[in-house]
């Protein structure tokens, strides 16, 4: 998008005192539905900020922001006999995703590819158009993050309307789009001096240095091709619970299943799509019980290969953004980076 020159230069750097975060959120709420990370038990979750305050020092959320663009359960259309009516719950106002991390922004860009293409997905696209991204760079990282290996963090370079960086008692706010500029104008943020960029860079490089986990992407394609029969898969067949959790929490997983739900009149109802997972036995099952991925190892392999090899030819990008959710969520501690290390003989 071409930006007006004045916009590009003048108001790119702004500051938001932490004490004024609530005011900022209130100002956003006037023009949009604002979603942000809030506490859920010992974890976090993206929720509509009604009476809740966002907790921006969160590690990660249980489900990725994907859930606000491609809902876990979504009515595609309702029908009555053979009359079909598309029911689409598009947000009436723009929705602001506040405080989403660089890896999750990258994941949304991947989903943009998935839900675009020849047959655009209107449900995703309409929500996406209405979505404003106020991203948050990661100045703290946690054990399972490996974004730097994939170039998806801890710093975000593009894909945001606004970008925040925690500088201690204030946030640096960078403007990415005219839409972002409008929002900051609305909220009346003050300009920040250019030197804050130095502070930002220092904090981000510290964060980068604290990242412990790595996934070496070099020749990944070949590595996986050569190791289709590596003993690690056999081990995983015994380890993996095939519970599906890793795929349910992945910000780039997109699979779904459709179900027709009928009303009691048995004539009217709706078609719904529900997130599905390639780790599940029924995923590759067709009529008469024929199943193309009966063995657990075949399913695990499909997941790993899909993320690390197949996305590339399909959507021109890697399918993993290094958010670490699948590692966080696995009861058995199965770790995609460990698998790769093992294949590399490390």
């Amino acid at each position: 998008m071409a930006m007006p020159r004045a916009f590009a230069e003048a108001q790119r750097l702004l500051r938001l005192d932490k004490s004024r975060l609530d005011d900022f959120v209130e100002a956003l709420k006037k023009v949009a539905d604002v979603y942000g990370p809030v506490r859920k038990g010992v974890q976090h979750s993206f929720q509509l900020l009604e009476d809740k305050r966002p907790e921006l020092d969160y590690h990660t959320t249980i489900l990725p922001p994907k859930k606000l663009l491609h809902e876990p359960f979504e009515k595609l259309f309702s029908f009555e006999e053979d009359r079909v009516e598309v029911v689409q719950s598009v947000p009436k106002r723009p929705q602001v995703l506040l405080g989403i991390h660089p890896c999750d922004v990258h994941a949304i860009e991947i989903l943009d590819q998935v839900y675009g293409g020849e047959y655009e997905d209107p449900y995703y696209q309409k929500r996406r158009e209405q979505t404003v991204i106020i991203a948050l760079n990661c100045t703290t990282v946690h054990d399972n993050c490996f974004c730097s290996s994939l170039g998806t963090g801890p710093e975000l370079k593009s894909g945001y309307d606004l970008l925040m960086t925690d500088l201690g008692d204030q946030f640096l706010v960078e403007v990415g789009t005219p839409r972002g500029a409008e929002l900051v104008a609305e909220a009346g943020l003050e300009p920040a001096p250019r030197v804050t960029l130095v502070d930002k860079e220092r904090r981000l490089s510290e964060a980068r240095n604290r990242l412990r986990k790595r996934l070496l992407t070099q020749d990944l394609d070949q590595l996986l091709k050569d190791n289709f029969r590596h003993p690690v898969w056999e081990e995983l067949r015994h380890e993996c619970l095939a519970c599906g959790s890793c795929t349910m929490v992945c910000p780039t997983c997109f699979c779904y299943n459709t179900v027709d739900v009928l009303n009691l009149d048995l004539k009217s109802g709706w078609r719904e799509r529900v997130w599905d997972s390639c780790l599940l036995l029924d995923y590759a099952q067709v009529a008469q019980g024929m199943n193309f991925r009966k063995d657990r190892d075949a399913r695990i392999k499909h997941r790993v290969y899909h993320k690390l090899v197949y996305y590339e030819p399909q959507f021109g990008t890697l399918g993993c953004v290094g958010c670490g959710r699948c590692i966080d969520t696995c009861i058995k501690g199965i770790d995609i980076t460990e698998i790769i290390r093992e294949l590399r003989g490390e």
């Binding site: 859920k40 038990g41 010992v42 974890q43 979750s45 249980i62 489900l63 859930k67 876990p72 359960f73 015994h238 380890e239 993996c240 619970l241 095939a242 519970c243 599906g244 959790s245 349910m248 929490v249 179900v259 009928l262 009691l264 048995l266 529900v274 997130w275 997972s277 599940l280 036995l281 029924d282 657990r296 966080d328 969520t329 009861i331 058995k332």
Partner: protein, 253 residues
Amino acid sequence: MTQPKIAIFKLSSCAGCQLEVLNLEPYLLQLAGVLDISYFVMAKRDNAPGPYDIGFVEGAVTCGEEIAKLKRARKDCKVLVALGSCACYGGIPSMKNWEPQREVEKRVYEDLSAIESTKAFGIDQYVPVDAYLKGCPVSKEELVNFIKSTLLGMRPYLRPHSVCVECKLGENVCVFLSHREPCMGPVTTAGCGALCPARGKACDGCRGPANDPNPVSLAEAFKELGLHRPDIIRRFRKYAGATLEFEKGVEAL
């Protein structure tokens, strides 16, 4: 379409699954309009003899009389459905299967002469079963879904996979990872909406094994949580201990 005749039979059970039928208040009258509830002793006094189109059997089989009753029901019903985990796997009554029968009985009765009880099994131990509605108690949503599908002559979609899937769809905090609770969710059939984890409690495995469970690996994970062998055995031998899948969890150790 003439209204299909429905029968509800009770074997050894708590009657909770039948009660779930009465708990369908929002639909009950509507359902009564499309179905002929022909035999339902808990709810009505005039109970018609068979044949019936769909028979729901609640409860585990625990004595000879019940085997006979079950076989009659099988003859009388075109479609026979196991209603709830007792009928599917033996359920809670099957907990006694792993102790000497008389031992257990003696703890309850002094005079054992009148007691003739067998090990508790699901009904498919004795008769062919057309469909299984799992859960202790059954899920009302699945029950209604099943009835609708059967009226249409189709196979209902009952989630066959692990509870974890629904747990994630509901964005619950995982009690296994966050609270170190030994959750049976990864090997248990979904369909309950991950009801227990959603309320901060580990899944108790009440819906029995999922379609591709890995109980051996889960038993190991339990061990890593610090559970001892008897604790783990108790978790697998609760609602569905009589299934081969959960028995594997017991044998894993």
